[in-house]
Amino acid sequence: MLEFERDLDELRDHIAELERDAGADSNSHVVRELAVLQLELEARTADIFAHLTPWQRVQLARHPQRPHTQDYIDRLCSDFTELHGDRRFADDPSVVAGLATFEGRSVMVVGHQKGRSTAENVERNFGMAHPEGFRKALRLFDMAERFGRPVLTFLDTPGASPTLDDEKRGQSWAIAENMARLARLRVPVIVTVIGEGGSGGALALGVGDRVLMLEHAIYSVASPEAAAAIIWRSSDHAEEAAAALGLTAPDLLRAGLIDRVVPEPEGGAHRDFDTAAANLRAELARMLQELCAQNVDDLVSARYAKFRAMGEHQNVPAV
C-alpha cells in the first residue's frame, strides 16, 4: 500500500467494521454515521487524487496491485489466443501478445507484462523486455499487416532490459527495428500507456496512430531512477527527477505528445479493474472504428505527420 493511501484505507476499514457491526440492524443512527463516513471517504479520496504529485503518480503507475496488460486483455477481449516466441532465439514472457476479438473485430494485441508476485516478476523480468520480446512483437506486427488486422499495444515497463546479454543480442537494434516497422505499418495501431512508459523499451511498442494514457500512468524519456542517475549521478534523486521530467498524463496531453487521457476509477485503476477497463474500452472502440474507416495510405501518412510534429525547436542565426 502506498503511504498516501494508508489514511484512506483506515477509513475504509472503519466503515467496513461499522457495517459489519450494524448487520441487519437498520438503526437510523448507524445508517446516518455510515453515510457521513462514506461521504468523508469520497471527499478525502477526491482531495488526495486531485493533488497528486508527480512522484505519487509514479508510485500509482507502479502499484503492485495495478492492472497489467493481461488484466486488460481479459476484460477487453474475448477468445484471446496467446502467441509465443520470436522464431529466432526464445520466448520472452515480459511481452504478451496474441490474437483476440475486440468489439467484434479480430485484432493483434501486444503488451509488456509485469508480474504480481516476486516469483512472477522474476519470470517476467519486471516487465523489462529482452530483444527477443521485441522481436516477437515485430513478428506479430508483420502478421497483423499481412492479414489486415489492427494492432492494440499496451505499454507497462520500467524500460528495456539493460544487461550484457541484452546488449549481446542487440537491444538497440530490436527497439529501432520495431519503431521503424510500426511507423510504416499498413494497419491501424493504437497505443495505450497503462502503467509505466519507460524510455526506449516503451517506445518499441509505442509508435501508433493514437497514443492514449491512463490517468495515473507515466511516460518518460528514462525511468525517474535512470534519469536521476544520469542527471544527479545517483538514483536516490528519483523523486526530483519525476517532478522535473513532466511525465504525467496531464503534462503530456498539454505538451501534445499524447492524444487522450483515459480516466481511472476513484482511488486508481487498482481499486477497480473493471471500471478502468470499461473506460479504456470506450475510447479504444471509438478510435478503432474511426481508424479502420480510413484509407491505408492516408493512415500511414498521418502517422508519419503525427510523430514528425513532436518536438520544439527555435531558429537563431547560424553561428
Partner: protein, 293 residues
C-alpha cells in the same frame, strides 16, 4: 586533413600541452604532430579518437569547401524549463553553442563524396555530449526528407550520449521521429549508411543509426544501449565492466564492418556506389531551397 587542437584530450599539467597526447583508451603517450598526422588514431591500441564535425566533414568530403550546410539556424528550445543542479538547460545550450560554434549537436548538409553528392549528417559530440533533443531530431529528420526529395544517399556519423534528458519525453520521441524518416527513405530505395564513432549510445544507437542499411564502426568506439549509470540506476547493481566496443558488436553480428579512418571515405564511396540509384543527380541545395520558398 587539418585538425585543430581540442579540449577533449587528457593532459598532464607537467607536460607541454601542445606536444603530447594521452590516449583515452590505453593511456599511451603520443607526440602530438605525429598523432594528428595519423588522423588521431592511437598507434598503440588503434583507438580512433573523437573528431569534431568540421574535422569529420573534412575527412569525408572531396572538398570540404563545397559542403553546403542546411538548417544551421535550428537550435534547442526549452519545453520543460528544465534545470539541473549544475545549471539550467538554457545555460547548457548557450555554453555548448559558445564551445562548439554550432547551434545543435549535429551538422547537416550536402557535399560531394568521391564525386557523388551525398546528404551528410555529422554529430557534434562537444555539444551536450552529442545528445539528441527536439532540434537535433528536427535536423536529422529534415536531412532524411531532403535526401528523399532530391534522391540522395544519406551518410550519418554518430557520436552521442543518447536522448537529451533535459527535454523529457520530447527527447524520447526524437527516436521515433528520426527512425520513421529513415524508414521512409529506405522505402524509396535510397541507401543510408551510418558510421558509428565513439561513443554511440542509447537513444541514438537504438533509433535511426541501428536501422541504417550498412553500419560501419570506427575501431575502438564504444557502442551500446544502456550506459553504465543507467544500468546502475535501473538494476541497482554495478554495470558490467565488459567493453562494448565496435569489435565486440561486430562479433555479435550487429554491425556490418569496421573500417580504419584512413579508408573510410573510399569505403563509403564504394558501398554507396553499389546501392545508390545510378541516375542520382543533385540539384544545388541552395537553389532547391529558394525554389520552395
Amino acid at each position: 586533413m587539418a585538425v585543430r587542437r581540442r579540449g577533449g584530450m587528457q593532459s598532464d599539467p607537467d607536460i607541454p600541452v601542445d606536444l603530447w597526447v594521452t590516449c583515452r583508451k590505453c593511456g599511451g603517450m603520443h607526440y602530438r604532430p605525429e598523432y594528428e598526422a595519423a588522423l588521431r588514431v592511437c598507434p598503440t591500441c588503434n583507438y580512433h579518437d573523437r573528431l569534431d564535425a568540421a574535422e569529420r566533414i573534412a575527412l569525408l568530403l572531396d572538398e570540404p569547401g563545397r559542403f553546403q550546410e542546411i538548417d544551421a539556424d535550428i537550435t534547442a528550445a526549452d519545453p520543460l524549463e528544465f534545470s539541473r543542479p549544475s545549471g539550467s538547460y538554457v545555460d547548457r545550450v548557450a555554453k555548448a553553442r559558445a564551445l562548439t560554434s554550432r547551434n545543435e549537436a549535429i551538422v547537416c548538409g550536402i557535399g560531394p563524396l568521391q564525386g557523388r553528392p551525398v546528404a551528410l549528417g555529422v554529430m557534434e559530440f562537444g555539444f551536450i555530449a552529442g545528445s539528441m533533443g527536439s532540434a537535433t531530431g528536427e535536423k536529422i529528420t529534415r536531412l532524411f526528407e531532403h535526401a528523399l526529395r532530391h534522391r540522395l544517399p544519406v551518410v550519418t556519423v554518430t557520436a552521442s550520449g543518447g536522448a537529451r534528458q533535459d527535454e523529457g519525453l520530447f527527447a524520447l520521441m526524437q527516436m521515433a521521429r528520426t527512425t520513421a524518416a529513415a524508414a521512409r527513405l529506405g522505402e524509396a530505395g535510397l541507401p543510408h549508411i551510418c558510421v558509428m564513432a565513439d561513443p554511440t549510445l542509447a537513444g541514438v544507437t537504438a533509433s535511426f543509426a541501428a536501422v541504417a542499411d550498412i553500419i560501419i564502426g570506427e575501431p575502438g568506439a564504444t557502442i551500446r544501449f544502456a550506459g553504465s549509470r543507467v544500468v546502475q540506476g535501473t538494476l541497482r547493481r554495478r554495470a558490467p565492466v565488459e567493453d562494448h566496443t565496435t569489435e565486440w558488436v561486430l562479433r555479435q553480428g550487429m554491425i556490418d564492418l569496421v573500417v580504419p579512418r584512413r579508408e573510410l571515405r573510399e569505403t563509403l564511396a564504394r558501398v554507396i556506389g553499389h546501392l545508390a540509384p545510378a541516375h542520382v543527380t543533385a540539384p544545388a541545395p541552395m537553389a532547391a531551397r529558394a525554389a520552395r520558398v
